[in-house]
Symmetry: C2
DNA sequence: GCTCCTTATCGCCATTTAACGATAGGACTG
DNA sequence: CAGTCCTATCGTTAAATGGCGATAAGGAGC
């Protein structure tokens, strides 16, 4: 397994507010991305670095390849994961900053 | 404003695991409850104790009373809030244990 | 260039969600 | 007990979601 595409977490702090209308929208958007068990499982896989490549994620889930690809798109669109082209494959990895942001927003409740 | 219906947070720890298939379902379910800005705003209102009574919540949101009532039902069904009858009104309040559980699940990612 | 492998996108269908007005029901007040 | 206030539920509609197979697109390697 090659994790070269997955960056180590950085520790820059996020200065955006954790409450207000914009924060509500942001939290709702991130929560929606995690509102499906398959997407939670994908995030967990990537957090554990068990898998990075799309094909392996498909193998771990009881879903069709096209369905998994859609879930990956949802997670990517909200910034929770990132995909980088790695030869013929695509290597997905967590975006630690977004996950930290989510924790901050939840913590602010 | 009367907050007598809203209990103070207790600190009992939750022994359920924070990963695995069941935890995935649980996290997805809680995330879905927060996947709408109006519901995030309701949780925030209750966290700030700005309002406890359904009618006041309706006043704070640009939505019809029936719509707000449905959002409250979603939050209640997943255990994030609780409603108690207070004379002719209904007093809603956060369920701190569920919120802590959500934080634990998010933290476990 | 052709072919294979990998992933994204398209089209379709069934189900769920969100919104509202209207209505029902429960609890005080007079 | 009649009226009033507050909240939940019903019925409807439009839009979003989740699933799949089929197909397109883009590199790798022969």
């Amino acid at each position: 397994m090659d994790n070269s595409c997955c960056p180590l977490p950085d520790s820059a702090s996020d200065l955006r507010p954790i409450e207000g209308a914009e924060a509500d929208e942001e939290l709702a958007s991130l929560a929606k991305a995690l509102s499906h068990p398959a997407r939670v499982q994908i995030v967990r896989l990537l957090a554990r670095r068990v898998s990075c490549v799309c094909g392996e994620i498909v193998d771990q889930l009881p879903l069709a390849q096209s369905t998994v690809s859609q879930h990956l798109k949802v997670l990517k669109d909200c910034g929770l994961i990132r995909g980088e082209i790695d030869g013929p494959r695509i290597c997905y990895c967590l975006e630690p900053r977004t996950l930290r942001r989510l924790r901050a927003l939840i913590g602010g409740l």
